[in-house]
């Protein structure tokens, strides 16, 4: 059986800048895989090529063996790929529940219907998703009023609406308070494991990465320089030189096992 996500020799340059140079990796179902690297390493470019947001110059992206070449993001979504954004993108004029309902209507192929009240459609399903991410009490609120951490949760609920097998999360905890970060990622990991979803996420917070990722990939100057378990990557001298630094802080914290 082909892996959930298989990336082969992905390339992208902007003008003379080679943002991504021959990146290959795979993601398996139920796996939490982190993509880390310094600013400008090509993480976002890489990410945006995985769901058709930007077309690669060369290389292939296979989702369960299917090439997504030429497909727009909405078609990649139909293949079972959910996505959250670095800066949250939600429907500001709707309530929290309505945000999820729209995603569900789209998933069930009912978004073009002109009859019936959308506010009553897929309600139970939407509430189940909101309960999953802990937003039940916020369902009726305009999503423009939500705190940033809750917006991130909402994005997660929306991304789960199409019962994805692969979840792409671009800096899921950026801009959140430390405790919220850990909670959101623990939630994500729980859901992913329970439903067998493969999760690929980029992240700058090493606490989050080493705590929740099954495996970590390190991207530098458009190339993958390491892949392994958090412990392996942390020990990798090249990764330390380029990204983590030589400080003993991470070692110290993670040897103690900081369960949040």
């Amino acid at each position: 059986m082909s892996p959930l996500l298989e990336v082969k020799d992905l390339m992208k340059s902007y003008g003379g800048v080679h943002a991504v140079r021959g990146v290959s990796f795979t993601v398996e179902a139920g796996q939490m895989l982190a993509l880390i690297g310094p600013n400008g390493a090509g993480k976002s470019t890489c990410f945006n090529m995985l769901n058709g947001q930007i077309p690669p110059d060369a290389g292939t992206v296979l989702i369960e063996g299917r090439d997504i070449k030429g497909l727009p993001p909405r078609a990649v979504w139909r293949l079972g790929v959910g996505r959250t954004f670095q800066i949250t993108a939600t429907f500001a004029s709707m309530t929290v529940r309505e945000n999820v309902q729209v995603a569900l209507l789209s998933f069930h192929g009912r978004i073009s219907r002109v009859f019936g009240f959308a506010g009553a459609a897929c309600r139970a399903e939407a509430d189940a998703l909101l309960a999953l991410v802990g937003l039940t009490t916020q369902a009726e609120r305009p999503c423009g009023e939500l705190a940033y951490g809750d917006l991130k949760r909402l994005e997660l609920a929306v991304a789960l609406a199409n019962e994805p097998r692969l979840l792409l999360m671009d800096e899921p905890t950026a801009g959140m308070a430390p405790r919220e970060r850990v909670e959101l990622m623990r939630l994500t990991a729980e859901i992913a494991r329970a439903k067998g979803i493969g999760v690929l996420f980029t992240e700058h917070d090493m606490d989050v990465v080493f705590e929740h990722a099954d495996e970590v990939m390190v991207l530098n100057r458009g190339q993958l320089i390491a892949r392994g378990t958090p412990a392996e990557v942390r020990r990798d001298p090249q990764v330390r030189a380029i990204y983590l630094g030589e400080g003993l802080l991470y070692d110290a914290r993670h040897r103690e096992g900081t369960a949040a």
Binding site: F85, M94, T95, Q101, I111, S112, V114
Partner: protein, 627 residues
Amino acid sequence: MEFLLVQALSGLASAASLFLVASGLSIIFGVTRIVNFAHGAFYMLGAYVAYTLTTRFAGPFGFWGAIVAAAIIVALLGALMEMVLLRRIYQAPELFQLLATFGVTLMVQDLVVVIWGPEDLLGPRAPGFTGAISLFGRMVPTYDLFMMTLGPVVLGILWLLFHKTRWGVLVRAATQDREMVAALGVNQKWLFTGVFALGVFLAALGGALQIPRTTVTHAMDLSIIVEVFVVVVIGGLGSVFGAFVAAIIVAELNAFGILILPQISLITVFLVMAVVLVVRPWGLFGKPESAPRAAAGLTIRPWRPFTQVERAGVALVVVAVAALPFFLGNYALTVGAEILIYVLFAASLHFMMTVGGLASFGHAAYFGLGAYGAAFLVKYMGAPMEAALIVGPLLGLAGAVLFGWFCVRLSGVYFAMLTLAFAQIAWSIAFQWVDVTGGDNGLLGIWPATWASRPAGFFWLALGIAVVGVGVLRMLVFSPFGYGLRAVRDSALRSEAIGLNRQRMQWAAFIVAGTFAGLAGALFAFLKGSVFPDYMAIPTSVDGLVMVLLGGVETVSGAVVGAVLYKALAIWLMSQTDLSKLVLGGVIVVIVLAFPKGVVGFIEDLRHRWPRKGNGATVGATKAEAA
């Protein structure tokens, strides 16, 4: 061959003025992000002021001095407008800025007639350029040669200004990142005013320089603004060089289009613009807008369908309106029917604008197409009113299918400008295709069926169609389709990521809105008994916009309230004053400044100022959770 060369030269001469006006518009947009609709008005003012000055001061020095002085005077007026009006609305949605500058345009149209009279004026010829020289055996006016060289010279001066002066560098910096420039301690206010004055100066200069070539008329503002919109759409908004190239393209297309398709010369320009938009939606030399600004209808309070009580209230109002024929006279009922038709028209535009986030500045095109569709059926096929009312709007639908396909590729101001250009093209076809449309004389004798020929009967017909139409549109707002539309409006990124096809959904909304506008237009044809090209002219489009804005963009039912208020006001004003445009323009400006959320939005704001009990508890709970 020689003939073609001379024709090309004449095109180049026309390109000069077009370039001056278009570059002014582009420069202003680049820095202030305002599409200055009043640019055509300033162009016209430049011509009028130059006319007065050149006839007063004769001689070479007098003439050329007068041209420059006219441009400077108008530039000062422009700076004044920027300081008094635009400074207050830079933060408003771009739609409001377009509308405010349109209000100014309306006012200038009446003021020009008041000051200079309604007749076309013929100014003096340019000293030193009165003759013509023989080129390829044909006579070419020397003034044309002067204009031809002027274009590149102005382009060169602008380049030097923007690359070699400190001020120009600041302007370019502000074009790229306004916030950053402000953070670096540059006084934005005066930079904006200066840029605006420069843009207006170029427009007025373009107008003043037209004196020796054509007569000065009070219709030259709208004709130039449409051409200029086409130029900046082709060349790319914000690019001076793009304006230069596109001005030449458009002027040459005009020069040769007249040879190929004398009847409908605008068609060639339209075709080229369509091709450019498909290949490069942001124009030949423009840059794609990085982050589109908040769409027109963005609301913070989610919409709710009517409750039972509210529904009963609406039903009561409808019943009360239906009873009006028992109390009102014939004239009042005819006015009432007209208002009802505009309610439907405004509601269709509102659906597209608020729910779809597509602010059309040319919605009258579909209104007019529906009217012509009905008129054609009556005139050429002898159809009865009932059939014409059903089939006629299909012409509006067809127009929306065609134009909408191009328009939904764009967004924001580009979308607004393109819809305006299409409406103007539809208008010029109706105006120029005399054999079919009757041209300016219109099509007469489009009378309703006997049962609806009495004012009361027609009033009920209009009421029935308006209620059903508005009801259907409202149902669409709350249907899954309506939610999908709002989703693509709220966040293009997120909606694409949950599988929504933005262009297809917006195209569908465009078609729905166009069809209902067509239905309103078909009714209107029977109300008036005739059809004229003016049904699709810019003022009709803007009437619709003002109704929606007056009622409130962010509301579901604002269009209905806005249409009733505005149309009643407009009809009353028409009967009271000859200067209706001046007053209407003033009203628009006041609305934009005083009620940026419209009347219904204003009332809702008042209602929400006192939160109901229970809200506080929810907010408290959230804060506790977040902490």
